[in-house]
């Protein structure tokens, strides 16, 4: 478990550092990224409905956001 956590933090660190170097865009180059459909949570209603279906039919939930609970689904 501890090793996993360390792994994550290393990965976070690397991502962060690379942010300084060459990754990323200038503030005025966000035309494509600013599109609705490029948002990570785009089509939020669909994602919510899917989460509800898979939450009630499979043993794993969450990941994208909170795993939560909230239904005694069959």
């Amino acid at each position: 478990m501890k090793r996993k956590l360390v792994g994550i933090l290393v990965l976070m660190g690397v991502t962060q550092l690379s942010g300084c170097a060459s990754l990323g865009v200038q503030p005025w180059e966000r035309d494509l990224l600013a599109k609705d459909e490029m948002a990570l949570g785009a089509e939020g209603v669909d994602l919510g409905l899917d989460d509800h279906i898979y939450f009630s039919k499979e043993a794993t939930s969450g990941g994208r956001s909170f795993a939560g609970g909230g239904c005694g689904c069959n």
């Binding site: 956590l5 360390v6 933090l9 200038q26 503030p27 005025w28 180059e29 966000r30 035309d31 600013a34």
Partner: protein, 165 residues
């Protein structure tokens, strides 16, 4: 939970570093010269020397930019004949997106088009929109990152201040 605390620390530290650099008032320095491609003609930023200029960098996809247009029109209407002008530099890579934006939120001030973002590069923009107040002598005096509706009256006071100089 050690690693989590470390992360929280890192977040706080980086926040402190970033917050340090956002003071709007800047040391007066000459505004970098720009060739402005207006809809009908090309002019230079320095042509506006003698006027107070509100130089705004915007794009059609930027939400706060939408909110800034009605206010910029208002400022232009109020002070446009008193030695003040708004100049808005559009940074859309596609002109038709800018045109579509302007068909809905018409601009009553000069709009320049810079699809390559050269002006943004020259001014080293840190965010969208960014606006600068340039005094009559052509010096950059005040910079704003973002457009905050609740600060509109403060922006206006700054314009009045520079006009009174």
């Amino acid at each position: 939970m050690g690693p989590i605390r470390a992360l929280a620390g890192a977040i706080t530290l980086s926040a402190g570093l970033l917050l340090a650099g956002t003071a709007p008032v800047m040391a007066a320095q000459p505004a970098p010269e720009l060739a402005l491609q207006l809809a009908s003609k090309q002019v230079n930023l320095s042509d506006y020397k003698g006027q107070v200029v509100y130089l705004d960098f915007w794009a059609s996809w930027c939400k706060p930019c939408q909110r800034s247009f009605p206010w910029m029109n208002e400022m232009q209407a109020k002070y446009g004949d008193k030695g003040f002008t708004v100049i808005a530099i559009n940074l859309d890579s596609e002109r038709k997106l800018a045109d579509s934006f302007l068909s809905k939120l018409p601009a009553h001030f000069p709009v320049a088009y810079d699809p390559e973002g050269e002006s943004a590069q020259a001014y080293k923009l840190k965010g969208m929109p960014t606006s600068y107040l340039i005094d009559k002598a052509g010096n950059l005096r005040i910079a704003h990152q973002g457009f905050h509706v609740e600060k509109q009256s403060k922006y206006e006071q700054e314009i009045q201040g520079l006009m009174a100089e």
